[in-house]
Amino acid sequence: MAQIMKVRPTKIELVKLKRRLKLSQRVQKIVKDRLSILTMEFLQAARDTVTAKQRTLTAMSEAYKAMTVASGYHGYVALQKELVACEADITVSAGPRSVAGIRLPSLELNEPSGGLRGYNLTQTSSIVDSASDTSREALRAIIELAELQRGLELLGAEINRTKRITNALEYIVIPSLQVTIRFLSMKFEERDREEKARLKRVKVLLARKEQ
């Protein structure tokens, strides 16, 4: 049950409380809306994570298969000799993206410009090209999965925090303000009634004196 707050029973205090109640109700509306947005994003992220995980597994298995076929066709040493020249650092663009006030990671693989593969195309077959393509696809899938999984964790934590705020507003702050406002209003009404009764009594006494 909501508790009456310890306040001075004055009209100024009542006005203050009413203002505070209005502000709390407005914020509750926004926080509730934010919670529903975060939940929607969370569910979407969960669905996307499942898809991304499946895609990653498929891409990885295809990449391994393609590499196995390529090394079987060219020979492991020859393939390694060819590929060692095209080793390059993988760069990923990272930054935060904001969703209803929460910062989620945004990752994107930087594609090499010009579409050059780096190895000698005349010395290698299309099997190596296919292995290269599937490996890049696997890399893209891993990065997407990493982004989604971290986002999912952050969204979950934020949903918990927002839920606590919504509950605090809904079950503690707003009810206690409402109860206190009702209590003060009743107190002032009671005071008015007492005042009226007193005035009536004085009026009767004065009338009696005059008689």
Partner: protein, 154 residues
């Protein structure tokens, strides 16, 4: 009720705390709003496309989303489409409003959602939550939520 002698001091601290916390919540929800919107054409030309937010941070925009949008539009329209597209939350938990400055945004929405949409009022297109989820899943970095002041005033 007899007021506690220290109630005035305690209450004022409590009041300040509550106000600070509530104001913080309001600031938080609109933290990611863009300081300035950029055209699709401009973003496509950048090496690392990003949009500056009101809190000073830079939000990266995904190239594949820009490519998707550029495929949907014609050359001339790319210059007029300003990103991110703003989605206004109306306080109603089932609906959202997409702010469309021109017909280009409406064209993008129609193509992505795969259904015909109409203006609710000039510059405003109302969509429902399932459509919003679909839109956000396709345009994660090129759309942004805005919690409107009109909602706060009702």
């Amino acid at each position: 009720m007899i007021p506690h002698p220290a109630s005035e001091v305690t209450d004022s601290v409590y009041d300040k705390l509550l106000h600070g916390w509530l104001a913080g919540e309001l600031r938080l929800v609109n933290k990611g709003l863009p300081r300035e919107r950029r055209s699709l054409d401009e973003l496509l030309l950048q090496e690392r496309p990003a949009i500056r937010c009101t809190d000073g941070s830079e939000q990266p925009v995904k190239r594949n989303e820009l490519r998707l949008l550029s495929d949907l539009l014609e050359e001339k329209e790319r210059k007029s489409l300003l990103l991110p597209i703003l989605i206004e939350m109306t306080g109603d938990e089932t609906e959202a409003v997409v702010l469309c400055r021109s017909d280009i945004e409406l064209k993008v929405l129609t193509s992505i959602l795969g259904m015909r949409l109409n203006y609710e009022r000039p510059g405003r297109v109302r969509i429902y939550r399932p459509q919003l989820a679909l839109l956000r899943s396709k345009l994660r970095t090129t759309t942004q939520y805005a919690f409107s002041s009109s909602m706060r005033n009702d």
